[in-house]
Symmetry: none
Subunit: 235 residues, 2 copies
DNA sequence: TTCTTTTGTTAACGTTAGGTTAAACCTAAT
DNA sequence: ATTAGGTTTAACCTAACGTTAACAAAAGAA
């Protein structure tokens, strides 16, 4: 389904090589942002979160090492791979000192780069813990655990929720007693707002109402033409 | 505080080069054990815990790749650096597939090697903290010893586990009652995430469920599209 | 009112993920 | 060579999910 692709920041001043490399990476299911020089690279880096940076060493205005240092100041963890034309020892050492994760001499084999990327990403795979977001909600007599995707009534047997059910209920809970605009759910969960996705959402609202029936103090109200409202009557 | 030196297993068949390298590393405050071939390398590896393995690829009796595979069966986490005379692409790819952390072509500069070692150690320092020392788990009425790879029920006869069975159960136990993402197991244990490895993992889940059957309070639940959850009902 | 649009609900369908068993495939050890 | 242990691939089946259709009921507009 919607498995998020890994995001790569590629900073390479040679437009031909840069474009070819970008296309190659994108063909291999990476989201690539291509910056043409160090300045632009840093701007783009600040604007978004990346899973990996590939930096050319020799660039006008701001070389790869300087850029890497700036990146490291903002983020100690992003893996960095350097690309360099010459195989100079000083450069390699300098690179590792700045916290490089790997090093490649141009010209290099693209498959090798791909393997290195994979290897590096795998190392980082442990850090999935990052978002200790909000996963647990109290909804009347229900408990929603949106990480493990289940709904418990009075602490009894948990009901399993499908991804869509789960996301939708979570969105409603996030807006408890308030309007949850139709459009919000459609763009966030269905990633598209048209007649069919809208109907699909209505189907899911019906499902959720069924799940929530056991507690008469919990209901999902419709606000015609606007969206839905999860109300919890606690007297 | 007595900071323990890092322990390196160096497997290199050229006696001259091996000795020089060993001395150089020891001068830089590493504890180095030098094995002269793959066989000996594996023996030494089994006898002790190492923070890093440096393996020559071309060796008589047992080449570096084979050795690496055996090492990986015992330990999924030790960093491995390959040394090779020729810069063959196939070799490099093979190396990364076996789970190499880095790659060096002979002749190489010793300072470069040192930097690579430092870089790798640093990486491991951050992400190995949490789980590296955890080998024993209580799973309901079972005891899992993931170092010796066996599972005991009620303290009775231990069932031997294969490396994959063991690693998978360990990962599940590490995330007890919580989600163990599919992707995590695939990248950490299978080192690749595709249709087939995913199916392979499912086969192992089935095996584990069989092993765990004797205790009805222990089960592996699936969270569709996300992963698995080892639940232990202790009433 | 009557017409139109939006929402409620159920059922059917197609697709994909997962459960399980067995066979095929290594590769190290005999 | 043969065998045994471990792992992958194949095959078949069931469960889970999401979309769409169909029809009914509300709500709002005319």
């Amino acid at each position: 389904m919607e498995e998020q692709n890994k995001k790569i920041l590629l900073v390479e001043d040679d437009p031909n090589f840069g474009t070819v490399l970008k296309d190659y990476l994108m063909m291999n299911d990476y989201d690539v942002v291509h910056a043409k020089n160090g300045m632009e690279g840093f701007e783009k880096f600040k604007k978004d979160d990346y899973d990996l940076c590939i930096l050319d060493v020799m660039m006008p205005y701001k070389d790869g090492f300087t850029l890497a240092k700036e990146i490291r100041e903002k983020n100690t963890d992003v893996p960095i791979i350097f690309l360099t034309a010459k195989a100079m020892k000083e450069d390699v050492l300098k690179g590792y000192k700045v916290g490089a994760d790997d090093y490649l001499n141009k010209p290099f084999d693209s498959e090798v780069l791909l393997m290195k990327i994979k290897a590096i990403m795998q190392r980082k795979a442990t850090d999935t813990v990052a978002d200790s977001k909000q996963f647990e909600f109290k909804i009347g007599r229900f408990d929603l655990n949106s990480k493990l995707r289940f709904l418990k009534f009075d602490g009894g047997e948990p009901t399993k929720l499908s991804p869509k059910e789960n996301e939708l209920l979570r969105l409603l809970a996030l807006h408890e007693n308030d309007l949850m605009p139709r459009e919000l759910a459609l763009t966030k969960i269905w990633r598209d707002d048209n007649y069919f996705t809208s109907r699909s959402m209505d189907v899911y609202i019906a499902k959720l109402r069924k799940y929530l029936k056991p507690d008469p103090n919990v209901e999902i109200l419709n606000i015609h033409g606007e969206g839905f409202r999860l109300v919890i009557n606690n007297k």
